[in-house]
Symmetry: C2
């Protein structure tokens, strides 16, 4: 299994990326090989300092870096030797099985959509986030910002993509799907939610339980919470802000510690042909380690084949 990691992406790269690789290498099985994309001259001494066994990794020299605020399409086009561009070349060329970056999110999305294929039958890929539940369980919220405007059928597809992810990656059997809405009964909501409800209800591949409201997000009511990317992104960032707030207020409650995104690592891009994971710009070692582990799990469970099969049989 070959996992690709952009070593130059994120506010604390490459040092935290190296530390993350180091954490991972301490417990990794020997059949996992890491392909580390970045400037060889920078990476080699760093990796040496961290005493990483050379059989664990291969450095793929990519001397250019796409900055966090560069224009994605322009940067990818102009910087073909950047760690993100080279990473996607390797992924598209089957030299790696998954690609991870905490770098420029837009560039990662453009790379996912144009270097890889969107899976057959899928209208729009999606990104998601883990939402910690009050009782210790975890739920999945999607879309969280890739698709700010959606059609009802997009939400219906997100529901299936999220259900497959919840089943194979989160280990939730027969995950309950809730439509994020502003009322409990069918017929409530904006035009999109009203139109999405009957599609979800008729979808035999998911276990739809109806509408959930803002107050239900942290409760263990639905495992997969579906909405367009505007509302999802607002919920995600609101929830994330509770982690810092918890610290600033010296509340230090374990529940709010579960809002630390580093635990979950990053978000997979669901709906494209191969595993891509996008990390938070402020990722530290722990997040990098968890993103690599997530990639391993996505490959181990063959999630992408499961998704492909589910959509082909539509």
């Amino acid at each position: 299994m070959n996992i690709g990691l952009d070593m130059m992406g994120g506010d604390y790269a490459p040092l935290e990326a190296v530390k993350g690789v180091s954490l991972f290498a301490q417990e990794a099985s020997s059949d996992i090989k890491l392909f580390l994309f970045g400037d060889k001259d920078v990476l080699e001494p760093l990796l040496r300092d961290h005493a990483l066994p050379v059989q664990v990794y291969t450095i793929i020299h990519a001397p250019q870096v796409i900055g966090m605020h560069e224009h994605p399409t322009k940067a990818l086009k102009e910087k073909q030797q950047s760690s993100i561009a080279v990473g996607f070349q390797y992924l598209a060329g089957n030299k790696i099985d998954a690609f991870i970056s905490a770098g420029n999110t837009g560039a990662m999305m453009v790379g996912s959509l144009f270097s890889l294929k969107v899976m057959e039958g899928i209208l729009r890929p999606t990104i998601s986030t883990i939402i910690p539940k009050e009782n210790g369980n975890t739920g999945l919220l999607l879309d969280v910002g890739l698709n700010a405007d959606c059609k009802p059928e997009n939400l219906n597809q997100f529901a299936l993509l999220g259900s497959l992810y919840a089943k194979y990656i989160l280990g939730i059997d027969n995950p309950r799907v809730g439509l994020v809405n502003i009322g409990e009964e069918e017929g409530k909501g904006n035009l999109l939610a009203q139109a999405a409800y009957p599609l979800l209800k008729a979808n035999e591949k998911i276990h739809f339980i109806g509408n959930i409201e803002g107050r239900d997000v942290l409760l263990d009511k639905a495992d997969v919470m579906v909405c367009e990317g505007f509302t999802g992104n607002v919920i995600l960032k609101f929830a994330e802000s509770l982690f810092d707030l918890n610290h600033r207020k010296n509340i230090n409650h374990p529940f709010f510690e579960t809002f630390d995104f580093e635990i979950y690592g990053g978000t997979p891009v669901l709906g494209v042909s191969k595993p891509v994971i996008i990390g938070h710009g402020i990722s530290h070692a722990r997040a990098f380690n968890n993103m690599i582990r997530l990639a391993v799990k996505m490959i181990d469970t063959d999630l992408h084949a499961k998704i492909k099969a589910s959509f082909l049989s539509n």
Copy 2:
């Protein structure tokens, strides 16, 4: 000043409504008269038990009750002797200066829109909520559910309505308006947010500071936070859920205590010709008291004349 209160609305009516009136009466000035709408036979003994001075209130007999889950339009039409229907008759007839209810929200909205007039120049009335800020200040979020689908101009009007409310009721001078969005820069967001941004930027009657994200909602970044009612309702209910969570988890932190909606009482319907306040279904005495106090403030500051003047000069 005559304030009308639906005594039969809310899950704990009429007892908590009576207790709320009692709390209010202890500190009210003598020029405020309360008009209490409800079943005389039920209210009289309750009010007597609470030793309310008779000069404070007048019972307006309204023997019917609109249930919390009745169809709003149908119920208002068929129950003309209900406390909500009679209350709006009094408000429309200038016998009271404001009307408050914790009853059927839909019926309160239908009553507001059809018994009263929407103010000239206002496309859609709106409901809002107070959002407590981490530093102890308060912000206003609107719309929170009345307008699940909006046009850009609606958001622009909500911004002005919210600014006037923030100025006169919350006492915030030159309130900062933020557009709830999923990115910081102009041009980010869904189609609605992208189209609303330039309108807000060009609006000389408000102090627009640009986009705010989910992570900024609890920070003291914008005083007035504008979005369509779908996102706003999800934020509101998510935020509200933190209050109960705080108790269930025995966190008991004072910051989360500020998420107790009873402190703020209820939401005014902004954009209709007279003060209407809608309470939470689970309102207790404190919420009723605070809603009456809010009505007094709205009348004292002549908020509606300020709104009228602002929109007429558009």
